[in-house]
Symmetry: C2
Subunit: 783 residues, 2 copies
């Protein structure tokens, strides 16, 4: 747990006021910089001490064999794993004749600050070497949101006490040694030395390394350029070898003098481009960055972030930690998705090697919803990436004996990389999440061109999948059997309600889309008969419901299973999957993460309010939240069903997951979906945002601990500001044409530049639901 | 397919009249000799050419890591794999200056005969070397059923044309090179060089090698002794090195002269005994064998087999191939089980490395039933082995969160070695098969001592397992959820009918047993309340039944699933699991092997005749027989429901599986369960043998192709002969007291030495059921 005095609570930054080596790996994730293309973990400039060095390029992976004790038809032979690419962050320092290493000497002050508005990571150090030489070191690091191939470092050193000779070594390091992996199955298969040297060069202030991967056959180029500002007499030299390029600056500084090295790093990779082309590409990026200059890069970064916050900021009053947490979350979501550009948005972004750098349904179900309302271009790009993997997904569907396309459960380049099919291949709901994300994007932006060329393809192939996956029984009911829903403590169930409802929507959305785009239908070979079949299957979809208990069933027969013996389960035995066999979990009423509860939100139209209330109460008793994907949607449904304080506690869990290292694996990277959940819990939970096609509604309510919540969304070509207090909600149309929204069901017409204020209706608090013993959420204030 | 002119059809032997190298690996399995302790594949004496060299000691295995692409709690870390132990069969021959190698020179005649009555493998060769030296070689090999540590070879060579110098090298070879594995996942993980040398010695006619395994820490000792008979002037020398001991005989023979080398080999292994103790053990075995002499060993073997056939022979008239096949089957079942003695009976016996040498439920469900009625002492021994693994099974149950004991799905030494838990750990029905085998043995033999010390333990621990595995629903019905039945094309089903019915019986048998043995109940801590719970669960057991279709369901909801698209399945796509993903199979109505149909037989009391007929017809349409475990029980139920010709075809499939290499993997070892199925199909199928507690009944009927079936069984301390013709059945009590049996429901009192004859009732042939397209059984005559 990162719960030490070193962290301050501030609205626009995360600041660590002292260095604590025991949480270094976690802070490297928290302080990671990324633009969705390049990811740099927040490793110390001098490389060591480190928790886990990490430099990533989105899409750059290596293949590794997937072993099976007993193999089966259609099991993936090779998995994809993110690799640690050439490290361009390293700035080593020699102070007189001793290395600047904070494990030795005396550290007077150490401060790191991640600033959400400047997009920069600042560091200030005041240190005395074992030999008594005191220096101040300052560095500023950014990964550019405006020049996606570029990252930059400003590194400054000044002596305090004596005239001091300093040596700064600015490096590019390939195949750096990684610490041994800790063995947690949720972690990463670390691939050691994945890069094969192809070219290295150094001349004057310029460095370059080009490598390729062996099995995935990708080429990675990195180049760096330097600008030095220091007292007379400093000297710079450069040298390169296959896995190391180094620019060394030596100077003698008196107290008050300062040596500054500005380093610009450019990254590029390609599956197809030649070595000279890729070398030119990174050198061109450096040329552009040189033209912009350090200050120019910093200014652009600030402008981009100002624009983002103008569209996306969420302001909360009542708890400063929540304010910080939600902005931290939004900042990292932006970093992960802003410039991914036809590459996946992995579950951990580019902040660490967790989950092998794979992208899951998290992207479409958790991250894209925020981006749709705050940075919609990033959504189009992410879905274009999915679209680009359609051929692989069609191949996979065919291998599974199905029509259409089956997108992988976890992947980097589009191959299925799940080694456990009951919680991989069988989790077909990933396809519905992708289809829903495409529909959401199109409905919110009106991007018809996207729909015609990308959206329809995704919808048609997923509809075909669902139609071949299910079947009509004798009575005509359409069943989808043998699949795994979001809750991974059940598997291979029949008629998973979430899956069925999402598939139903998918089938209808596909039918609507091909009817809107007859030329796309022709291109895809969809005829009217097929559309009729989709609609018929959707209309006949099985909806498991227990008449006896008057509650929907997570899957057919779910409520008939034995209840998990929560009373006999020790707190140390969570997460259950680390202490119990899947067999024991699968046959019991025990839920890892929101599943039916997620359906209550995403397909809220399929339930009455009473059904929602009953279902939430029933499943709340069974849900242990052993997945970080759970709390956000529990918060949303808790808020909708009137359990505001409970929703607030879940919001705390989802938003503080990494700042407090709640799952004890933040070292492997941030939990982006859970962070995204902060926004979802606030905006869809307390804000009550719902959208159905072109209808937009809010049903805001605040928990006791908050007295103000304000957020902005971009939708239907408008920008709307919503400000909620304990008594009323104010809606302002910041840009775009008038439109009608709903406030707690009441129509409200928004016109430009005018604020509409509506009171919040009273709420009779319902009976508080209960959670499994020992799995109640920790109250926010006690987190 | 072994379908060549080399094989003759003879009632008491398998004879190959010419050597065909392309089927050498298969014939090595067919000609394997074993006593259940030692197994020698039918490799040629001179070692090469070979298909797969194999010498096995029951229980001797090595551990190997089990890899997982995604590991989970409770997955086995290490698997057990049978290893090829020191080869004591090798007799190399030099003819003048050329090795006797049948790939060169001219082979005039080559004949191998496995004799079911003498238990010997004979070989006669007439060969001319490339240099023109013609020799006759004869060998006889046996693995003693009476001296279980001992195997013996008589090797004779005589020149035909010229005076010839011959060298015979009799060897013990450890870590012999094995051919590369063919990659079939059903095959074996071949462990190369698994033996570490501990001691080697050679003196005069005596050889010895002692090795141990690295991870399983077993010690294996082999010793050999020789007796030479030849013309004057022969010389013998011996030598040893760590992995090779060799006794070399040189002699010069004129035509008409003969050199004979009798080799006796003794094997021993232990987990605990010291090297000197084990060396003494094998030398003592050699001393005993020396005392008995070659002819004595042969005579004892014959006597043991005479006694066996007197108890076990099945005589059929109407098809000579069937006669040969059923005796072949019985012979190999005897070989596998007779002297296993507190070691498992593996699925392939000791005939090959298939399935890694593991023991499955096959043993209790297929092999022990025959042995119960023909060689009951072997059954007690096999169950004592299971009993000895109870501590591991209790540990496994506890790991799975269950009470009692969970026996492994596949194992050698008692550890779970299945690497795919949905078809391993979840297949709990193995426990019911073990319990049922114990009850069957006790009821048939009256071995009360066994019941008190072994049987009750097995029953109590399995009953506890079932009781903790299932649960009562609100209405009181007892459900067993999330388990896999015998049919491996379904998994993790609720209320698998076979499992439920077997568990029901298990619970009741356990309750009965502890009531009979109150002191055992005390020892095991069983109180009356527990017994009441078992009976209550048994009485409330869920029995899935489709009211709509008026047919029992293989598992809850099975008949609601989509039917497999058999019309679209190409004949080359069987076995389906090699061409379709488990996901596709699990959610469909398609059945790999008899499951509910097995319940129709084993729990025939739970169904009316009409229910059996309907269920058989329904499931017959869905059963593809992709497992060799299927046909036997389909034969039994087909016979019971009046489909005699169909039963006959299934009998053909189960009995000819290895003689015709129907599954194309006989090279890896024989399919003992399928072979055992020949007896089951004849005796329980056409003989109609059923036993319920102390009630014995027959309802014999013959298919058109047979005009006589006679068999003998040992039960309740009696030996009974049954002879069935097309018109009548004759019952003779060969030994023991009078008893009442039933013939087609009619009571018949058998008294000593008197034959009771009863006519067979007429049968109105029912409507012929159909099988999936392309999976109809091949008519016996066309096999």
């Amino acid at each position: 747990m990162i719960r030490h005095s070193g962290f301050t609570t501030e609205p626009w930054q995360v600041r660590e006021e002292s260095l604590q080596l025991d949480v270094l790996p976690q802070t490297e994730s928290l302080f990671a910089l990324s633009n969705g293309h390049i990811g740099w973990r927040g490793n110390l400039d001098e490389g060591e001490p480190h928790g886990l060095p990490g430099s990533y390029l989105n899409g750059v992976h290596e293949l590794h064999p997937m072993p099976y004790a007993e193999a089966g038809y259609g099991y993936p032979d090779f998995g994809e794993s993110v690799i640690n690419v050439t490290n361009g962050k390293v700035m080593r320092l020699l102070v007189d004749d001793e290395p600047f290493d904070l494990r030795y000497g005396t550290l007077h002050h150490h401060e790191r600050t991640l600033d959400f508005r400047t997009g920069q990571l600042h560091r200030a150090v005041d240190w005395t070497s074992p030999a008594g030489r005191r220096v101040r070191v300052r560095s500023t690091r950014l990964v550019s949101l405006t020049q996606r191939a570029v990252a930059a470092i400003r590194y400054e050193v000044e002596p305090v006490s004596h005239e001091t000779r300093v040596v700064v070594q600015s490096e590019l390091v390939a195949n750096e040694q990684l610490p041994p992996h800790n063995g947690d199955p949720r972690g990463s298969t670390v691939l050691q030395s994945p890069l094969r040297a192809e070219e290295h060069h150094a001349s004057d202030v310029h460095l370059g390394l080009i490598h390729s991967t062996e099995k995935s056959r990708l080429r990675v180029a990195v180049a760096a350029e330097h600008r030095v500002d220091g007292p007379d007499g400093w000297q710079g030299t450069s040298e390169a070898e296959p896995d190391l390029a180094r620019y060394t600056v030596v100077g003698r500084l008196s107290p008050g003098e300062r040596l500054r090295v500005d380093k610009t790093v450019a990254y590029g990779w390609s599956r197809t481009r030649s070595l000279p082309a890729l070398r030119d590409q990174v050198d061109a990026a450096l040329a552009a960055a040189r033209h912009t200059g350090w200050q120019g890069l910093a200014d652009e970064q600030r402008q981009r972030l100002d624009a983002f916050w103008d569209c996306a900021d969420v302001e909360v009053r009542g708890d400063q930690r929540l304010q910080q947490a939600v902005r931290f979350a939004l900042f990292h979501v932006l970093q992960a998705g802003d410039r991914a550009e036809e590459q996946p948005i992995p579950a951990k972004g580019l902040t660490g090697p967790g989950y092998e750098g794979h992208c899951f349904w998290d992207t479409e179900a958790y991250i894209l919803p925020i981006l749709t309302y705050t940075d919609p271009d990033a959504v189009a790009q992410a879905l274009r990436w999915r679209h680009s993997t359609l051929p692989l997904a069609q191949e996979r569907a065919s291998q599974l004996g199905l029509a259409g396309a089956a997108f992988p459960w976890r992947t980097i380049a589009g191959r299925e990389c799940s080694g456990y099919w009951p919680a991989g291949a069988a989790a077909f709901h990933v396809n519905a999440a992708i289809a829903a994300a495409a529909v959401r994007y199109v409905e919110c932006t009106g991007d018809e061109d996207f729909e015609r060329h990308i959206g329809v393809d995704i919808l048609v192939h997923s509809a075909r999948l669902w139609h071949s996956l299910g079947h009509h029984d004798e009575a005509g009911t359409f069943h989808i059997d043998g699949v795994t829903g979001p809750d991974e403590y059940s598997a291979l169930t029949n008629d998973n309600l979430y899956t069925n409802l999402m598939a139903q929507q998918n089938l209808r959305d596909a039918a609507d889309a091909v009817e809107r785009h007859p030329e796309a239908a022709r291109r895809l070979g969809v005829d009217e008969g097929q559309v009729r079949c989709w609609r018929r299957a959707a209309d006949a979809m099985a909806i498991p419901y227990s008449e006896e208990l008057q509650v929907h069933e997570q899957s057919a027969g779910f409520t008939r299973r034995a209840r998990w013996d929560f009373a006999a389960t020790h707190p140390d035995q969570y997460p259950l999957m680390h202490h119990f066999h899947y067999f024991a979990l699968y046959r019991s009423q025990v839920i890892k993460q929101a599943d039916l509860v997620l359906a209550l939100f995403l397909r809220g139209d399929a339930f009455t309010d009473e059904e929602k209330a009953r279902a939430f109460a029933y499943y709340e008793e069974l849900t242990v939240r052993d997945s970080s994907l759970s709390a956000a949607f529990q918060a949303v449904v808790a808020a909708r069903t009137g359990h505001l304080d409970l929703a607030y506690d879940y919001l705390g869990e989802t938003s503080l997951i990494d700042l407090l290292d709640l799952e004890q694996n933040t070292r492997d990277g941030l939990h982006l979906a859970s962070l995204a959940g902060s926004w979802i819990a606030l905006v869809a939970g307390f804000g009550g945002l719902r959208r159905q096609g072109g209808d937009l509604s809010f049903s805001p309510r605040l928990p006791d601990h908050l007295f103000r919540l304000a957020f902005r969304i971009t939708v239907f070509g408008r920008r709307i500001s919503v400000r909620i207090t304990r008594d009323a909600a104010e809606y302002t149309l910041l840009s775009g044409d008038s439109l009608v929204i709903r406030h707690h069901g009441e129509e409200v017409r928004l016109t430009p530049e005018r604020t509409e204020t509506r009171p919040l209706p009273d709420l009779t608090p319902p009976r508080t639901p209960s959670q499994p013993k020992g799995r109640e959420p920790v109250p926010f204030a006690q987190q």
